[in-house]
């Protein structure tokens, strides 16, 4: 079956631009997570959804970051007024309320 998909795979933005990153989780998965992975580091938690409810957004680095999952399926991570320090790989993972998370391939964001 289809895994977690993310789009776009690569995004180049000029500093100050807004970007939107999309995540299509595995069908039926209740939990959805966003992580940020800097080069040479492990992923860092950003936010968590259970269905459409955003239950934890403690990892979002600033109020320029916003995530939504309005119908409990597809999720979008939006970054406003991008800065160079936002350059990273953004990973989405879904889970059927269990312990194993299934990751997408990530979106590589480069802010120039």
């Amino acid at each position: 079956g289809a895994g977690v998909s993310q789009s776009p795979r690569y995004k180049v933005a000029k500093r100050g631009q807004d970007v939107a990153l999309r995540c299509d989780p595995i069908s039926g998965h209740v939990s959805l997570f966003w992580y940020q992975q800097a080069l040479g580091q492990g992923p860092e938690f950003l936010t968590y959804f259970q269905n459409e409810a955003q239950l934890d957004k403690s990892g979002l680095p600033s109020d320029r970051f916003f995530a939504e999952r309005p119908e409990g399926s597809v999720s979008t991570l939006k970054i406003q007024r991008t800065q160079q320090e936002d350059s990273a790989v953004y990973l989405c993972a879904s889970s059927p309320l269990g312990e194993t998370q299934y990751f997408g391939p990530g979106t590589r964001l480069l802010v120039l």
Partner: protein, 113 residues
């Protein structure tokens, strides 16, 4: 704050040998610990989970141990193959945390023929 340490240097081993990767953590013990594999340009892939009350778990050529006294997990790959070359990430989950993963930086393993 919680700190997770994995060997920062790459581990180079000969095909057929056993690779051993280390994950150390400070402060609080997690409810459980997971190991993931990550290949370049891809997302992490789940390998094994071990709970705080378990000492050892095995799956095919993989074995993970968990010592809550030492605050350490060891991850072993026996009879290693070049296809095992990847970055291996350890991740901790604490109870009450929505199963959110707290990752180490990962250790890169290179298995040479």
């Amino acid at each position: 704050s919680q700190k997770i340490e994995q060997n920062s240097e790459a581990l180079n081993i000969q095909e057929g040998k056993t690779a051993t990767l280390t994950c150390n953590y400070t402060n609080y013990s997690p409810a459980y610990l997971q190991w993931y594999r990550q290949d370049p340009g891809r997302g992490p892939v789940f390998l094994l989970l071990i709970r705080e009350n378990e000492k050892e778990k095995r799956k095919e050529r993989l074995k993970v141990t968990f010592d809550t006294t030492l605050k350490q997990s060891l991850f072993h790959i026996t009879a290693s193959q070049p296809a095992d070359s990847a970055t291996y990430l350890c991740a901790l989950v604490f109870s009450g945390g929505y199963n959110k993963l707290i990752f180490g930086a990962g250790t890169r393993l290179a298995v040479h023929p």
